[in-house]
């Protein structure tokens, strides 16, 4: 699979402040790519570089194999975190205007808008002014405007903020559907549960540097600690714990269980396998619960950021 977007060694300074330091990312075609990082890490600057809003001091960006240029504007749909619409303009006029700025003809824009408005059941908003709509309603229109020109690359910065759970779900499904139709999505967010849910690939930016990038699943493999969460049933829990403690490194675990179990996290040494642990435990107790601890995106995020 080739990459739709490649960012090579992009740096950007604002005066003395280094916003991006030699950042490179690869976004595979058809993937949902999570761009993560703490506040002020440089995500927005990177997104603006990709959108040609900010010119990088050095480095290049390739979209679909070509160095980024003005003709790429129509290939990108961008929903910024700081978003709004003209307050006193009517919904329809406004959407038409924004679509035309992306290079659609008026007739085509109208036709597509009608399709999307019907699809999201917001057709009767056409003649309303933005100031008459709620924030969530305005967000829906912004979403439509972002995807209307069928861009190859969609960039969403915190797309779910401001949506109620029902609408957030609706938008999530639309994003997934757009991906199925061939779009590539860059997704910048702080909400790790949506990263878990949606992203195939992630990159983590911290203090202007990219410190992590790859398939989410590979990164999780890389970050797993060979730890297992077990629930054990035994008559003498203290004795059991001590005998395990003699052989493996053990810590208390906390998970929900129906039994009054001894709950432990057991970390194995590098040369030990799950099989070794199971056969050992089988000799001493009844195993009710046995699961490998997979690091969550949240854990990875916190751990990487704190280590840097």
């Amino acid at each position: 699979m080739s990459n739709l977007l490649e960012v090579h060694g992009v740096s950007k300074n604002f005066g003395d402040f280094k916003a991006l330091n030699n950042v490179s990312i690869q976004v595979p075609k058809g993937s949902i790519f999570g761009l993560l990082g703490p506040n002020g890490a440089g995500k927005t600057t990177l997104i603006r570089v990709i959108n040609q809003i900010t010119m990088p001091d050095s480095g290049t960006v390739f979209l679909d194999g070509n160095s980024l240029n003005a003709s790429h504007i129509k290939d990108i749909g961008y929903l910024p975190e700081e978003r709004g619409l003209y307050k006193s303009m009517k919904v329809g006029e406004q959407a038409l205007y924004l679509a035309q700025l992306k290079g659609l003809s008026k007739a085509e824009a109208k036709q597509r808008l009608k399709y999307w408005f019907d699809r999201l059941e917001i057709g009767d908003w056409w003649n309303k002014k933005i100031q008459e709509l709620s924030k969530g309603m305005a967000q829906k229109i912004q979403f439509v405007v972002t995807v209307l020109h069928n861009p190859k690359l969609l960039i969403f910065d915190e797309p779910f903020s401001g949506f109620d759970p029902i609408n957030a779900n609706l938008i999530k499904d639309e994003i997934l559907r757009l991906r199925e139709d061939g779009a590539t999505v860059i997704f910048s967010t702080h909400r790790m549960e949506s990263v878990e849910e949606l992203c195939d690939d992630i990159a983590l930016i911290h203090k202007s540097n990219k410190i992590l990038e790859g398939k989410l699943i590979d990164i999780k493999r890389q970050y797993k600690t060979n730890t297992f969460e077990v629930g054990l049933e035994a008559e003498n829990k203290t004795a059991l714990k001590e005998s395990i403690n003699g052989k493996f490194s053990v810590s208390e675990a906390n998970f929900k269980s129906l039994n009054n179990d001894l709950k432990l996290n057991i970390k194995l040494a590098e040369n030990e396998t799950a099989q070794d642990l199971i056969s050992f435990l089988n000799q001493h107790a009844y195993i009710n619960h046995f699961v490998e601890v997979i690091p969550s995106a949240n854990d990875i995020f916190i751990q990487t950021v704190q280590n840097n």
Binding site: N51, I53, A70, Y78, R83, G84, L85, K87, S88, L101
Partner: protein
Amino acid sequence: MNHLPLIIKREYLTKVKNKSFIIMTILSPIIMIALIAVVAYLSNLNNEKVRTISVLDEYGLEGVFVSTEKTKYDVLEGVTLDIAKELVGETSNYGLLHIENFTNLDFISNHIKFYSEESPSLSLISDLERKLEKEFTNLKMQEAEIDISKIEASKVYINIGQENFTGEESSKIDSIIKLIFGCAAGYLLFMFIIIYGNMIMRSVIEEKTSRIIEVIISSVKPVQLMLGKIIGTSLAGITQFVIWVVFGGILMTIVSLVLGISLMDSSIPQQELLEMASESQGVEFYFESFKNALSNMPLMNLIVAFIFFFIGGYLLYSSLYAAIGAAVDNETDTQQFMLPILMPLILAVYIGIFTVIEDPHGTVSTVFSYIPLTSPVVMLMRIPFGVPIWQQLISLLILVGTFMFTVWFAAKIYRVGILMYGKKPSYKELIKWIKY
């Protein structure tokens, strides 16, 4: 992709469709005309009032108290002052003028008195004073046996004819008319910049506060957006101006027809200037000079220069306004940046009015008609007095050069500023933005 026409169209339409814009467009000329009409009506009302003045002339002047349309004289005879006062009190006459009888003319003229219920109108008193001064001067001359007719005959009126070396004649009225044209052009530009420059600034701020800006500039270049805004708003401004002129003109005609008052007379102050200039000269002379002055003016030059300097000056300032709008978050923060814009503009108008009147081709007015921030206004004021084409071209060249620089500068600030939220930038920061 060139989105400029699209942006201009949107800016224009939103401005023109805006409710307050429509209301202002319609209401302003109505209010203006109504105001003028009221003032004209009131002053007419005042003028038409007929005043009757009782005169108790014990000395017996002849041919002085001849009633006119607005002032009637009621000459009392054979009564004492006290009775006369009582008489006047009973009638609704305006007042009583009392001239005593002595042998010494100086003494008489020093003891003339005017009695009235309320303090009398200043113009009426000075009118009476002028009349009496003339009469008593004549009387004193007669007393000294001076032949008045000889004095009259030896009076000379001088009106210095003006002509430049190429043979064009001009006159005082000429200069006044030129001044009026110049000032009108300069002032128009000044007003236009302030009104519509502010409008541009507000519309930039609106895009910032509504946070739509990032969506827009992911589609178009900030420079394009800025130019689109400036041009669109200017077109809306011109539309409003044209409507004001046409609508105002129609209203003015209707009002003056209906009310039967000539609004022009009372509304245009230059009338007074002209009258001052043509004082002691006939009406025919005045019309002749007016026509002469118009034909003396470099009209073609004035029109062409007006268009170029107007556009140049307006674009120069409006790009600065746009930059200010981009640099701040809300309108209250604009104050600190407004001063440096308004200063040269106001300076230009004052220089225009004071030095151009004094000496249209003097050093001060010439220098300021080259300096780009003041040149549009000052040059427009100078041109009616005849400025060599090469001077105009140099000034225009400097203006265009500066305009390109300010657009570049404003675009830099604009590009960075529209994405900056939350902090009020200092000048130092603005300079830093240029390097981003």
